[in-house]
């Protein structure tokens, strides 16, 4: 019961937030997307034990796919990207066209990212540990370079995302709610997954993959499936992020391994790896700190962020949730995975 009230309160805050803090709508929209990044990263990195630095690939693929569909439904993508910077205004979208573009573009962003994940996953998920991590890092860099050299999508000079027509009202609020819905949906799907046998299977792979295989689990297919599920949500998140930023730079925005790619890992570590709520808490704290640094420590913001990373890893290796759970096992028990909590409580009682 109290759990239901808690969920209702979070939803209410999420719905009311743009009215309470109208000046921070785009930051809050970004926060919901960060929550999607962190939740999906933890599915593979925390719960399955495969630390990926390449999940930005799915964001970038989703971002480009969505923008290309938004344009391509009505104009030639080649002409559109070639004309950029020429001050042309012939490429306008009315409200119906704009919404149609999103309605087709966002699902296709998910599909494209999912397909890329299935292909890449079959190739690299055979690797383990550090090899996998480094390989995914390479994938992110390679994807950025490919986009950087591909004229059709604007190459190094990037791609302008169709601007919203004035009839749509305030776009930052519009995107805030889309991001909010996506985050809630991601949370629901991920927490459902953890309640299924699939959730147990990815935990088993994390704990001992050879054993899981020896017990007959189709480990490769499970790993690829988990990555594809992450990618589906990341693709949509990428599509939304592109529209939020309004301009896609192949390396700074779409395949931004050095920012989003690393940040999503940090959020999870900050909040608590391998837990349901850890990524959510981590993303919130991270976004607050990041905005604070960018506002008050301008010029030094990246140094401050770097320092924070070091402090997190040294003092909270288990993350906020892990730290709290160690301190107050009985108290935390019921909010986290009940089975795990009972284990922790029993351990404390011994």
């Amino acid at each position: 019961m109290s759990r239901l009230i808690g969920y209702a309160a979070i939803l209410a805050i999420g719905i009311a937030a743009p009215y309470l803090f109208p000046n921070y709508q785009s930051q809050m929209a970004e926060l919901w997307l960060f929550i999607v990044f962190a939740l999906t990263w933890d599915l593979v990195g925390g719960q399955m034990g495969y630390n990926s630095f390449g999940n930005v690939v799915f964001i970038g693929v989703g971002m480009y796919t969505c923008a290309i569909v938004q344009v391509g439904l009505f104009y030639s993508v080649t002409d559109y990207n070639a004309a950029k910077g020429g001050g042309q205004t012939v490429f306008t979208f009315d409200v119906v066209q704009y919404l149609e573009g999103l309605a087709v573009g966002l699902p296709l962003a998910a599909v494209a990212a999912g397909i890329v994940a299935a292909i890449l996953g079959s190739a690299v998920l055979g690797m383990r540990g550090h090899y996998f991590a480094i390989c995914t890092l390479g994938l992110g860099v390679a994807a950025g370079q490919i986009a950087n050299g591909w004229d059709w999508i604007g190459a190094g000079s990037g791609m302008v995302v169709p601007h919203a027509p004035s009839g749509l009202g305030e776009t930052s609020r519009f995107y805030y709610y889309l991001a909010f819905v996506l985050a809630v949906l991601t949370f629901i799907v991920v927490s459902w997954l953890y309640s299924t046998r699939f959730g147990l299977a990815i935990n088993a792979i994390r704990d001992d993959e050879d054993k899981a295989e020896a017990m007959g689990l189709p480990t490769t297919r499970i790993k690829v499936t988990a990555w594809v599920i992450s990618a589906l949500f990341l693709g949509v998140a990428g599509g939304l992020l592109g529209n939020l930023k309004r301009f896609i730079d192949p390396i700074e925005v779409a395949f931004a391994g050095a920012s989003f790619g690393v940040w999503m890992v940090l959020m999870v570590i900050l909040g608590g790896k391998g837990t349901l709520w850890g990524p959510v808490i981590g993303a919130i704290v991270f976004q607050l700190l990041k905005e604070f640094f960018w506002t008050y420590l301008l010029g030094w913001q990246r140094v401050a962020l770097g320092l924070m990373i070091v402090l997190i890893v040294v003092f909270f290796p288990q993350g906020i949730l892990g730290f709290l759970r160690e301190r107050f096992p009985e108290r935390f028990g019921h909010k986290v995975d009940p089975a795990l909590a009972r284990g922790a409580a029993g351990e404390a009682a011994k």
Binding site: F198, N203, R206, D207, D210, A214, L340
Partner: protein, 247 residues
């Protein structure tokens, strides 16, 4: 009587070390068969070869009359042949119950069957089997927090959860408290008789294997040294020499 597992002429070398050479043996359905031999004689290597953990250099391995020596670990497991590890392996970050729930057989299942609630169906059987090995009280503890011996028992219970046709146990009593060993022997016999699981057991404890197995194979230096009923093996001069280190 049907032969469940038939190994013929299997050899396996690691670089210069000939871990198994020309090994042949049979495991008949419904029996308990033993495998003994001094340290480093190639017992674990043979188990690994049988379950497809590594490719063999030559020879043939048949399970239910079908060649399996080219199959992968998972495919063999799905046919109903399972091994436990000498270096006990459980899922340390999960509770005992969760360890059990994810150990059910995948024989008639595929990936989509994983997308059902953890609680569906098998929970009762998981708890029964934990009770059977004496871990019921510990069922909600993290498996990684159990003692080594308890983990060994959990791994055995997980194997039973999988309902294999043939279960290959690599030193099931190693690290188990001597006073509990008799109980474990009873449980192994029970698994064999009541659950109908054929057992193939590596064991260093002579008292255990003599008690348990109906037929024993003995390896030394990667070769088959002797085979026979427990009494024959016990009195075989070659086996005694091998164990006393006369090699």
């Amino acid at each position: 009587m049907n032969t469940l597992l038939e190994v013929s002429g299997v050899s396996k070398a690691f670089g210069g070390v000939q871990a198994n050479s020309d090994i042949s043996l049979k495991v008949p359905e419904g029996k308990i068969i033993g495998l003994i031999g001094p340290n480093g004689s190639g017992k674990t290597t043979l188990f690994s070869s049988i379950v497809g953990y590594h490719p063999i250099d030559s020879g043939s391995i048949k399970f239910e009359d079908k060649e399996i020596s080219k199959l992968r670990v998972r495919q063999i497991a799905r046919r109903g042949m399972l091994r436990t590890f000498q270096q006990t392996r459980i899922y340390g970050g999960m509770t005992c119950v969760q360890n059990m729930l994810i150990s059910t057989s995948m024989r008639s299942h595929n990936l989509t069957s994983l997308f059902v609630s953890q609680k569906s169906g098998e929970h009762g059987r998981a708890e029964e089997l934990l009770e059977f090995v004496g871990l019921y009280q510990k069922r909600y503890l993290l498996a990684g927090d159990l003692s080594f011996g308890q983990q060994k028992l959990l791994e055995f219970a997980m194997a039973l959860m999988n309902e294999p046709k043939l279960l290959m146990l690599d030193e099931p009593t190693a690290g188990i408290n001597p006073t509990l060993i008799n109980g474990l022997i009873d449980r192994l016999k029970h698994a064999n008789q009541a659950f109908g699981i054929t057992l193939f057991v590596i064991e260093h404890n002579m008292r255990v294997i003599m008690n348990l197995a109906e037929h024993i194979y003995c390896l030394a230096h990667g070769q088959m040294l002797a085979e026979g009923a427990p009494e024959e093996i016990q009195n075989d001069q070659r086996v005694i020499d091998a164990y006393l280190g006369a090699h």
